[in-house]
Every structure is written in structure tokens, then in C-alpha cells.
């Protein structure tokens, strides 16, 4: 569903991403690990066509995102690192706007409220202004947007940073549920524990290169930390 072929991005002399080859299949959760500046956000932005690749291809559902930007955006949902919504509007109004944009047609209110129940937003909160929300609540709205869109692929940039362990756990359950429904998920994260727990595979990046890809059922929690640190040290 998500496919990177020799995908590279340079800013002048600086190489942010260097020849990435990657495929994420429907129902799979791929976790990108790596230090700050490794190129994780760059990868996600390339899939969103927010930036143009220097060389290589990013494909969604078999379509090149650079040449079919609008079409590919119908298949993906994105949860940015900073989950920001329109503060002066209610959660439901925010969901309504983005869900309408996402699907290209108005979505019934009852369905929208249904999604909000599904992501477990406290009932009554949907009619409050987003300025009164916590980060976890805002994130739930964004996940509801992804659900309303019935996206085939989900791009997540450090979704659990700043969430408390319980919120983080709830979030994982939602992600797994989406994957269970056949969504391909690409998630950049610093959370080794969640990566091992939720991911089908993890990829370790350093200085724009994908150094190693592992299946999460082939190692334990302690192994992952050791392998990660080995890559960071040499």
C-alpha cells in the first residue's frame, strides 16, 4: 500500500533521506525508529507530497504521489506530530470540516458522533471548544478524522510523544484496531516499547539511511533497545 523506491531528499549538501526502499502492506504497522534528524519526518512528508523528492518514488496504492498528489491523498490519513485543530470551534465542528474535506461530501452528524464514541472521546466533550481539550483528546479527534475518511493508509509522526501511559495505551489499541481492518500504517516514533508492542516490523534509521528492518516477533524488548543503541553508536 505504501511504497518507497530509492526515495531520497537533499537540502543542498545535506542529505535528509538517502535511497529509502520500503513497503508497508495493508494491515501492517511499520515503525520508523531513529535519532533526531534521522529522516523520519522527511519520509512521511514525502508520502504526503508536502516536499518533493530529490530522486526516487513514493507510491500510495500504486500511484506516484508526486504526479497524482490529489488522488493519493484520498487514500491516506495523517496524524501530525503537533495535533492542532481550530481552537475556537468544537471537536465535532473540527471533525465535520476535515471529514467533509476528506470524503468530498458532507458526513451525517450521527456518523461523526459515532466515530467520536469509537475513539472514546468523553461524551459531551464534542460540543466543547477544542481550546479546552488535552493533547490526548485532540488526538482522538484526528483519529476520528482518519476513521471517517476510511483511509487505506495511515501516516503517524511521533503520535505518542507527550501522552500519558494510559492515553498512549488507548492510542495503541485504536491503531491496532485500524490495522486489523486492513489499514497500512507507517509510524515514526521514539517509543521503543510501543514499537515492539504494536509494530509488525520496525526500521532503524540513521542519517537518512534505513539501517536495519526487524520483525517484532523475532526479538524481545531488551533486544530491540540493544540493537537500536548499537546502530546509534558506530
Amino acid at each position: 500500500m505504501l511504497q518507497a523506491i530509492g526515495l531520497s531528499k537533499s537540502y543542498g549538501a545535506q542529505t535528509a533521506l538517502d535511497g529509502l526502499n520500503l513497503e508497508v502492506k495493508p494491515g501492517e504497522i511499520f515503525c520508523l525508529l531513529g535519532a533526531n534528524g534521522a529522516g523520519k519526518t522527511t519520509t512521511i512528508n514525502l508520502f504526503l507530497n508536502f516536499i518533493e523528492p530529490t530522486s526516487g518514488l513514493a507510491k500510495i496504492n500504486g500511484l506516484d504521489v508526486a504526479s497524482d498528489a490529489l488522488e493519493t491523498k484520498k487514500y491516506i490519513a495523517y496524524i501530525p506530530e503537533q495535533v492542532s485543530l481550530y481552537k475556537n470551534l468544537t471537536g465535532l465542528e473540527n471533525l465535520d470540516y476535515f471529514a467533509t474535506l476528506a470524503s468530498g461530501a458532507a458526513v451525517e452528524k450521527s456518523r461523526l458522533v459515532g466515530y467520536l464514541r469509537e475513539v472514546d472521546l468523553p461524551s459531551g466533550a464534542e460540543d466543547r471548544k477544542v481550546s479546552t481539550y488535552s493533547k490526548g483528546m485532540r488526538q482522538k479527534i484526528v483519529i476520528a478524522i482518519a476513521m471517517a475518511k476510511q483511509a487505506k493508509a495511515l501516516l503517524l509522526d511521533e503520535p505518542t510523544s507527550g501522552l500519558d501511559p494510559k492515553a498512549s495505551n488507548e492510542f495503541s489499541q485504536l491503531i491496532r484496531k485500524l490495522a486489523g481492518n486492513g489499514t497500512a500504517i507507517l509510524m515514526a516514533t521514539h517509543d521503543l516499547f510501543r514499537a515492539k508492542e504494536d509494530g509488525s516490523r520496525v526500521g532503524i534509521m540513521r542519517q537518512g539511511r534505513l539501517r536495519q528492518v526487524l520483525n517484532t516477533d523475532e526479538f524481545g524488548h531488551a533486544d530491540l533497545e540493544r540493537i537500536y543503541l548499537e546502530h546509534m553508536h558506530d
Binding site: N45, L48, F50, Y78, V83, S84, N88, L101, A102
Partner: protein
């Protein structure tokens, strides 16, 4: 998609009270400006009404006196004969020539308070009744009173920019841009949705306030010329709104912060609305300097003295040229009145070249500013609105030409009678021509405003076009 964005904009405007603020602000400004406009028009109407009454009374009195003399009831005493052509043409039956306020005059004072809108006719020099149309200081030329035109041309762009300066930057700053752009929505669609709503709303308010203002200040909405003018007015404002939102799009396409955008746009406003018009006038007056008025007055004085010293000779010469005017069986009368008219004619002839030079330079200045106006949408809008409201230089010149024509005819009728010492009777006085102002035709207005609209279309189209081209390259991350 565009509709979805527009709907969202509506929600956002409502939620942060921007809408209420804009409506209240506009209503206050428009209300005050209409009050100003209608009091100026009321003042003009009152003045013209008083002049007309005075004129009618004066003529009535004259006719009564003349009839009295004719029926032998009144005796002519002293040197002043009420039947003399000089007295009748120069004073007792001299009409006022007035340019009444145009149908939409309450909406724009324009330059109508700089130019005289009525003259009392006499038999003397044209200069004595006609003011000269020198370009006045630029703030007068462009700003003038706090009328609806001022609100729409100068303050309205600020409101438009306040609604447009952060079209994209606010989305970026509050972090919603990435979420929106991850949907199947292009940057152009998003920007279009935003300006359609914000610009449309603003334009809607302008139309509403203009029509409400027209109704409240007694504009005759039953007349077709009023509808034509209001229609052109709305088209002009639509293009003008387009220009300022286009500028906002262009500035936003540089991806600077909202604060920087606000400063840049405020600078652009200052430049286009205040600096450029002043520069236009400065360049015009230094490129085509008019002879100073002192020089003109001096020339008149010298010519006057010279003519005075040979007054009787001038009169004799005139009579030689026009023997038919010789009063029957008399010597050419060298009385004070007749002499002074002869002198006057000579002065007019002498001063004419100076006046001509003066007029030519002023005309060149105006032609220059005329061309310059296409650089600033504010000057364009102001000219068009003045034309539509009937307070433009164009209508004043239209009036001025009518005055010239009437004045020439009047003098042509009376002066020979002055020299011939003909006495007029009540029948002749009653049959004197009456001046009636001829309004500019719809075609005149359409012609002048049409050109301005085309210029505005080009300006607005250009900024929008460049802005939209640049939108393609706006990065999201």
C-alpha cells in the same frame, strides 16, 4: 471542496467575533460618512434654493418697475436707468447658473466642495465668475471629506486586508495547514474558498450599506440612471475587493509570518493609497508648472492700467468698427459704464494668452495624473466613484462648458445694447433665456467609468494571477 472551505471560514469568523467587529466597524464608518454626505448635499440644495428665490424676486421687481415705467406710473430719476442694458444684463435680471447635486451626490462629496457649483452671471470678465481648475493639494484631491467614497476607497482596503493578511499564515501558525493539506484539497482551492467567503461577505456588506445609504439619504431608486450608476458602483467595488484580496494572496504566497504579512500589506496600502497619489501630483506639478497666479494677476493689472489710460480711444475705435451701434443722433457716449466695458474687453484680449498658457499647463497636469491613475487602484476607484456620484472634475467641466456657452450668448445679446444705449422693455426681459443645467448622459458616465473598470480589472487580475501562480510553490511542512 471550495464550498466546504467557505463554510468553515464562516464558522471561524463567527466563532472569533471577527464578523461582528467588521459589521459594527463598517456600519459606524458608513453611517458617519452618509451623514456628512447628506448634510453637504442639503447645504447645496438650500443654497441653490435661496439663490433661485432671490433671482425670481429680483426679476419680479424689475418687471414691475419696467411695467410701471411703460404705463407712466413710475418716473425715471437720476443717472441709473433701470431699463439700461448694462443694468439689466449685469445685475437686475442676471441669473444664477447652477449645477444641482447629482442623483448619488450624498454618497460622494468628491471635489464638489472645491469647485463652485453656482455662479451669478454678469457682463464682465469670465474670470470674474469662473474659478480656475488648478490641481489642489493632493490630500484635498484624493481624500477630501469623510464621505462614503472615502470609507470605501481608503478605509475599506484596511478592513479587507485585516480579513486577508493571514489567509495561509494563520493556518500554518495554528498547525491546521498540514491536516488540511493531507486531504484531497489543493492550496488554490483552500485559498479560493477563503477569499470567496471573506471577500464575498465584505462585498455583501458594502452593497447592503450602499443601498441602505442611498435609500436613507433620499436617492431616487425609481430612476434608471441611478440603477445604472449603482450597478457600476457594485462592479467597481467587486473588482476593488478582488484587488486587495489578491494582494493578500500574493503576500501570503511568500510564506512569511502573519505579523510580517500585516506589516507588508500595511506598507502596500500606504504606498498605493497615500504615497502614489501624492507622487503623481508632485511629478505633475514639477513637470508642467503652471504660471503663478501672481503673474496672472499682474498681467491683468498692467493690461487694465494701459486700457484705462486710453479708454476713450478704445471706445472710439470700437464704435468705428461697429457703426451700427452708434446711439441714434448722438456722439459716442463716453460715460463711465460704457467706457468701463470697452476697457474690460481690451483687458480680456490682453490677458487671454496668459490664461491660455495657464489652462494648457493645468490640462497637461490633469492628463498626466489621468495616466498615472492606472498605477493605483485607489486613484482609479476614487475617480470612478466621483463620476458615478456626479462630483467629478469631468462633470464640473461639463458644467463649466455650459456656463461658457450661456455667458457668451448673454454677453452677445447685451453688450451691443450697452454700447448702443438701447433700453429694454418688460417684454424683452420676460423673454430672456433661462439657464437649465443639462445632466451628463448615461453614455458619458458609462464611457468614463467603463475605462476605469477595465483598468481595475487588469490590476486585480494581475495580482490575483501572480498570487495564484505562486501558490503552487507554497510548501506545507
Amino acid at each position: 471542496m471550495i464550498g466546504t472551505v467557505a463554510k468553515q471560514e464562516w464558522r471561524l469568523l463567527k466563532a472569533d467575533r471577527t464578523l461582528a467587529a467588521v459589521v459594527v466597524l463598517m456600519a459606524a464608518m458608513v453611517g458617519y460618512s452618509l451623514y456628512n454626505g447628506s448634510s453637504w448635499v442639503a447645504f447645496q440644495r438650500q443654497t441653490l434654493g435661496a439663490a433661485e428665490t432671490e433671482q425670481a424676486e429680483r426679476k419680479g421687481k424689475l418687471l414691475k418697475t419696467l411695467k410701471g415705467i411703460e404705463e407712466g406710473r413710475i418716473e425715471v430719476k437720476g443717472t441709473q436707468d433701470p431699463r439700461s442694458a448694462a443694468s439689466i444684463g449685469g445685475n437686475s435680471s442676471a441669473p444664477y447658473l447652477a449645477m444641482p447635486p447629482a442623483p448619488l451626490a450624498t454618497l460622494a462629496v468628491g471635489q464638489s466642495d472645491l469647485y463652485p457649483y453656482y455662479f451669478k452671471l454678469n457682463l464682465r470678465s469670465k474670470q470674474a465668475i469662473l474659478a480656475n481648475d488648478e490641481i489642489e493639494n493632493p490630500t484635498n484631491l484624493l481624500a477630501g471629506r469623510f464621505d462614503l467614497a472615502f470609507v470605501l476607497v481608503y478605509l475599506f482596503p484596511l478592513v479587507a486586508l485585516a480579513l486577508g493578511y493571514n489567509l495561509i499564515s494563520s493556518e500554518r501558525e495554528q498547525g491546521t495547514l498540514a491536516l488540511a493539506m493531507s486531504q484531497p484539497l489543493t492550496m488554490r482551492e483552500m485559498v479560493t474558498g477563503k477569499i470567496v467567503l471573506r471577500g464575498g461577505l465584505l462585498l455583501g456588506l458594502v452593497v447592503l450599506f450602499t443601498f441602505a445609504g442611498a435609500l436613507l439619504t433620499g436617492v431616487d431608486l425609481g430612476s434608471s440612471t441611478v440603477w445604472l450608476r449603482l450597478g457600476l458602483w457594485v462592479s467597481l467595488m467587486a473588482l476593488y475587493t478582488g484587488f486587495w484580496f489578491g494582494l493578500a494572496v500574493l503576500v501570503n504566497s511568500y510564506q512569511t509570518s502573519s505579523a510580517t504579512n500585516a506589516l507588508t500589506l500595511a506598507g502596500a496600502w500606504l504606498g498605493l493609497v497615500l504615497v502614489l497619489p501624492s507622487v503623481a501630483n508632485l511629478v505633475a506639478t514639477s513637470m508642467y508648472p503652471v504660471p503663478s497666479r501672481v503673474e496672472m494677476v499682474q498681467a491683468m493689472r498692467v493690461a487694465g492700467k494701459e486700457a484705462q489710460s486710453k479708454g476713450s480711444m478704445l471706445l472710439a475705435k470700437y464704435m468705428e468698427d461697429h457703426p451700427e451701434l452708434m446711439p441714434a443722433g448722438e456722439k459716442p457716449a463716453a460715460d463711465f459704464t460704457t467706457l468701463s466695458y470697452a476697457v474690460q474687453m481690451e483687458v480680456d484680449k490682453k490677458v487671454e494668452p496668459v490664461l491660455k498658457r495657464f489652462d494648457e499647463q493645468v490640462e497637461k497636469q490633469q492628463a498626466f495624473v489621468e495616466g498615472f491613475k492606472y498605477l493605483s487602484p485607489a486613484i482609479l476607484a476614487q475617480t470612478a466613484i466621483n463620476d458615478l456620484a456626479g462630483t467629478s472634475l469631468g462633470r464640473y467641466q461639463h458644467f463649466s462648458r455650459q456656463v461658457d456657452g450661456f455667458f457668451d450668448a448673454w454677453k452677445g445679446y447685451f453688450l451691443p445694447k450697452v454700447f448702443a444705449k438701447t433700453k429694454l422693455g418688460s417684454g424683452e426681459v420676460a423673454g430672456l433665456p433661462v439657464y437649465q443645467f443639462r445632466e451628463e448622459t448615461d453614455g458619458d458616465i458609462l464611457g468614463r467609468v467603463g475605462v476605469v473598470l477595465a483598468g481595475m480589472l487588469v490590476l486585480s487580475g494581475a495580482v490575483l494571477w501572480v498570487g495564484y501562480i505562486r501558490l503552487r510553490r507554497v510548501s506545507i511542512s
